[in-house]
């Protein structure tokens, strides 16, 4: 089975980890880029990237899914 690596700003996020978006002044906006990499040796199909609730925290620039990631991609 395949492995993926999830990174935010150079830090690897394991499943169950928390990504701190920090303190943001009301009226302003912060963005974070989360990168998913296929660390396996064969193609991996990412079927979904979801937030359990979208509101003040929301997704932007999410690639069309499902999407196949080649090894190392």
């Amino acid at each position: 089975m395949q492995e993926i690596e999830v990174k935010e700003g150079g830090s690897v996020l394991a499943s169950g980890a928390t990504c701190d978006l920090g303190n943001v002044t009301v009226g302003e906006r912060a963005t974070r880029t989360i990168t998913v990499t296929n660390k396996g040796e064969s193609a991996l199909l990412v079927s979904g990237i979801d937030l359990d609730r979208e509101g003040e925290i929301s997704r932007v620039n999410v690639p069309a899914l499902p999407r196949s990631l080649a090894p190392g991609e």
Binding site: L21, G22, T33
Partner: protein, 178 residues
């Protein structure tokens, strides 16, 4: 991810990455952040730079206060202070004490050395008349005022029956204070 918080408590959401090819078909990451209120800059200091007093037409006492931001404020009896609009950069204030208009005048010096006579301060909008330039101090009595100019001359100010100022220079030895 985009985080646009409203005011209030911490915010969080769970990000799930799904793939049937994984050992564990989902990877769950909690995103958290806090919305904080912008820090408001402190208000400018409102130090009092000059005070004056006058007797209003109804014979009640009134206080005049010039603040460090150059505004002039007026308080009659026990009412709250109200700003006298139409004036700025006030540095000194003095008022004649004669209760009945039109001999009831407030004089202010603005930071360019101009001396102004105000006739209608009760309406909180000053009807002002420029009286002198180059004034560094002013003092007022019953129905007259004395203005000291930067060259050391003192001018006497009195109001006519119409309220406008009559100005007369006084011979003074050197830099006599007003």
């Amino acid at each position: 991810m985009k985080f646009t918080p409203a005011a209030g408590a911490d915010r969080s959401a769970k990000l799930t990455i799904e793939s049937d090819d994984l050992k564990h078909p989902t990877v769950d990451i909690t995103l958290s952040g806090r919305g904080i209120e912008a820090v408001k800059p402190p208000p400018p200091p409102r130090r009092i730079t000059a005070v004056g007093a006058k007797i209003a037409v109804d014979h009640t006492a009134a206080a005049l206060v010039a603040r460090s931001d150059g505004t002039l404020w007026y308080r009659q009896s026990r009412s709250v202070y109200q700003q006298v609009h139409g004036l700025s950069e006030v540095e000194a204030v003095a008022a004649t004490t004669k209760p009945n208009a039109p001999g009831n005048r407030v004089y202010v010096i603005t930071n360019d050395g101009s001396l102004w006579g105000l006739d209608s301060i009760v309406s909180i909008v000053a009807r002002r008349e420029k009286v002198l330039d180059g004034v560094i101090d002013v003092s007022a009595g019953w129905d007259h005022a004395l203005a000291l100019k930067e060259d050391g001359r003192v001018f006497a100010l009195a109001t006519t029956s119409l309220g406008s100022a009559a100005v007369k220079g006084i011979r003074t030895p050197g830099s006599t204070s007003a």
